[in-house]
Each structure stands twice: as C-alpha cells, then as structure tokens.
C-alpha cells in the first residue's frame, strides 16, 4: 500500500472550492433550519391544538426517517410534482427542513422550560403576545437552548456529507472524485476525514467556550 499525499495536494483549487461549498451549505442551512424551526416551535406553542398536532406529525416523520430518503424525495421526486431543482438548492432545502424539525424540538423544550408565572406576569402587565415572546421567552430560553443548538449545528455539518450522493459539489463529492481519478482513494478520504474531524473539533470547542461565557452571564444576573 502506497500513501502519496501529493496527488491530493496537486488538486488544491478544487478541494478549496469543495470545502467552500460544504461550509456554505452548513452555515446557510443551519441558520435557515434554526429560523424555520423557531417558527414551527412558535406555531406549535401559540397556534392552537390543531396546528400543534399537524406540525407535531410532520416533525415526527422528519425525525423518524433517514435524511438520505428525504433528499431523494426532494431531488428525484420533486420533478414529478413540478419542482425541478439543481443539486445545490435541493440540498440546501433538504438540510434546512431536516434541521428545522430538530431545532423546533429544541426551541419547544426551551419554551416549556420558561416558568408559566413569568408569562402570566407579562400578560398581567398588558404585554402583547409578540412582546412576551421577544422580551420574556426568548431571553430566558436562550441559555437553555444554546448547548443543544450548537450540538445540532455540529450534527448538520456532518449531514452535509450525505449531499454528495445527490451530486452537490461539496467536499465529499470533490475528494471522492479526485480519489477515483487519481486512483488514490485512501489518500483522498484521509484528507476528507481529517477536514471534518478538525472542523467538528473546532466548532465543538468554540461551542463550549460560548457556553461557559453565557452561563457566567446568566448566573451573574440571577
């Protein structure tokens, strides 16, 4: 077995572009997922029983099926209902919806953890529902949802690799192709694994740093 890393390093421009796509999908997808998930959680909390049940069903389906099946449905099934998407937008939409299901659960548990009395107090002094969400629920739950949210962001980073299967030109697809062309699979995949490992470790460490900072903030306020 030979291990010649130079065949990989010769392709640096392609690798950089693939890494860029991976990070782009990750960042945009995570932000979209968090925003969408937040609205789903708000809908379930304030939208009445029917909406809660309907959204709860959708979330359960999204959480109970593999991400790969979901993107196959969007990418291969989409054209049959008039939704022909290129791989990149299909992947972005897929990861945003998938992530939103998980983020909505994180926010929902955050909502539930805010004491009822605080919301009732807000109602008593005449705050509108929007004000209650913005000035009571959001600040109080931020601390609670921060650790699982960062955790979810790391999970979504790893899920972006799955998008290579529907030929999104991200890093896994790029390096697999280079491995096949140069007949250097082991080298290409080692570089690939290393990239994700380092990125996930850095994100995890940053997350813990933010957490400790915020925790101190909360206890100084309490």
């Amino acid at each position: 077995m030979t291990f010649d890393i130079n065949v990989i390093l010769d392709q640096l421009p392609a690798i950089t572009s693939g890494a860029g796509v991976t990070i782009l999908i990750w960042v945009v997808g995570t932000i979209a997922a968090a925003i969408l998930g937040f609205f789903v959680a708000v809908g379930r909390r304030f939208g009445g029983v029917l909406l809660d049940k309907a959204l709860g069903f959708v979330v359960a389906v999204l959480r109970g099926t593999p991400f790969l099946i979901q993107i196959f449905l969007v990418y291969y099934g989409g054209p049959f209902i008039g939704l022909s998407l290129d791989p990149l937008p299909a992947g972005l939409i897929g990861i945003s919806i998938y992530g939103a299901a998980y983020y909505s659960e994180i926010f929902r548990s955050g909502f539930m953890a805010v004491p009822r009395g605080h919301i009732e107090a807000g109602e008593c002094v005449g705050l509108t529902q929007g004000q209650i969400i913005r000035r009571i629920l959001l600040p109080e739950m931020t601390m609670l949802v921060l650790p699982p949210s960062l955790n979810m962001a790391v999970l979504l980073m790893k899920e972006t690799a799955v998008l290579s299967i529907i030929t999104v030109p991200e890093l896994t697809a790029t390096l697999s192709a280079i491995g096949a062309q140069q007949y250097a699979f082991v080298e290409a995949l080692s570089v690939l694994a290393l990239f994700y490992w380092v990125l996930v470790e850095i994100t995890g460490r940053l997350g813990r740093l933010v957490e400790t900072k915020f925790t101190r903030l909360r206890f100084s306020n309490a």
């Binding site: 593999p66 449905l73 790893k158 690799a161 995949l189 690939l192 694994a193 470790e201």
Partner: protein, 213 residues
C-alpha cells in the same frame, strides 16, 4: 405503485434491520471496553479511547464508510461490502455508546459501591452485581435512542453497494420512474420500524426494576 414493489421494499428492509441489530450489538461490546478505558484514570488507556471516540463522532458516517470500504482492500483485506458496512456502523455506534456508558457508570451512587465493599464483595462481584446492572438501567433509554439513530444511519450503507431498504428503493425508483411513491414508501417503512423500536423500548423500560435512590 404495486404490491409487488412494496414487497420488494419490505424484503430489503430485513437487511436494514439485520445490519443495524448486528452493528448495535458489536458496538455495544466495543463500547464496554472503551468506557472501561475512559474510566480507568490511566492516560495510556484514556487517551486512545478519547481519540477513537473523537474521531468516530467527528467524522461523518458516510466518510467513515467510504474510508473503511476503500481502505480494507488497500491493506489486502477483501471483504464483502456488507461486512465493511457492519464494521463502519459498529465502530461509529461504539463511540456514541461508550460516551453513554461512561456516563452511566459514573452515575452509579458511590454509597452503593462502598457498602458492597463493606460487606466484602470482590471488585469482580461489585462490577457484575452492582455497577453493571445500575449503569445499564440508567443508559437503557439512550441505547434505544442510539438504536433508532443507527437504523436511520444504516441508509448510508447503500452507498457502498449493500442492497438494503434505501438501495432497493433507489434501484426501483430508477427502473419504474416512480421515485415519489417508492421513496415515500421506503420512508414509511423506516418510520414503522423506528416506531416499533421506540414502542418496544418503552415497554422494556417500564418492565425493568426501578432505580435505587
């Protein structure tokens, strides 16, 4: 979509369940060793276990599977793709299960262990009769969770050519031009399997003895 197609999907889902169950069991065995290493307080054991866990939790499963699938032939081991798939899934779930188990063993009340020592139980007896049962009871819900995660993650082994539920759905979608119906049906089967696992897990959990306080 005909009944015949659905039957084919159901048949393929047997492989999904088989691969997942075998991987979870192998992963469980590896995780016992890993959690033992983590709790040993000796750097020569703790550090390798930490690196193993960090790697298999930090790299996407798809990349792990591709790496194992291509690495094994490169070092002269030609194994069927289903074996490569099971190795990949087992190592990945082992890393997650080890973290759960470490937490479980760490939460065994010290008082119980001390009283066991007082009445003269050997370290082996303490492990078998006190620590292991309590740790397993504590981590059982996490184990059910992990089983569902692995069932979903097993869809990725379709990429290395194992014909399980997802691969069968892909092949059928390609040959029948009914991707919407086929992938929806496949999703439904995954949902049903996961629902059954969650249900069974809940029932088993309720039948387990309560925890000492």
């Amino acid at each position: 979509m005909s009944i015949k197609l659905f039957e084919l999907l159901l048949y393929a889902s047997i492989y999904t369940v088989l691969i997942s169950v075998v991987s979870i069991l192998i992963g469980f065995a590896i995780a016992i060793f890993l959690s033992g290493m983590l709790l040993s307080r000796k750097a020569i054991f703790v550090v390798p276990a930490q690196i193993f866990i960090s790697f298999f939790r930090g790299v996407p499963l798809l990349v792990q599977l591709l790496l194992i699938y291509n690495m094994l032939p490169a070092i002269g081991l030609n194994v069927p793709s289903i074996v490569a798939a099971i190795i990949g899934l087992s190592l990945c779930t082992a890393a997650y299960q080890a973290e759960n188990m470490r937490g479980g063993f760490a939460s065994v009340p010290v008082g119980l262990v001390e009283s066991a020592e007082m009445v003269g139980l050997t370290p082996g007896q303490i492990f078998r009769r006190i620590k292991a049962p309590i740790a397993l009871r504590l981590t059982f819900p996490a184990l059910v969770n992990e089983a569902i995660l692995i069932l979903k993650a097993s869809s990725l082994v379709s990429v290395v050519g194992v014909v399980e539920l997802t691969r069968m759905a892909q092949d059928l979608a390609g040959s029948t031009f009914l991707p919407l119906q086929i992938f929806a049906a496949a999703g439904l089967i995954y949902l049903a399997i996961n629902w059954l696992v969650a249900l069974a897990g809940g029932l088993i959990e309720r039948s387990l003895p309560g925890l000492p306080r």
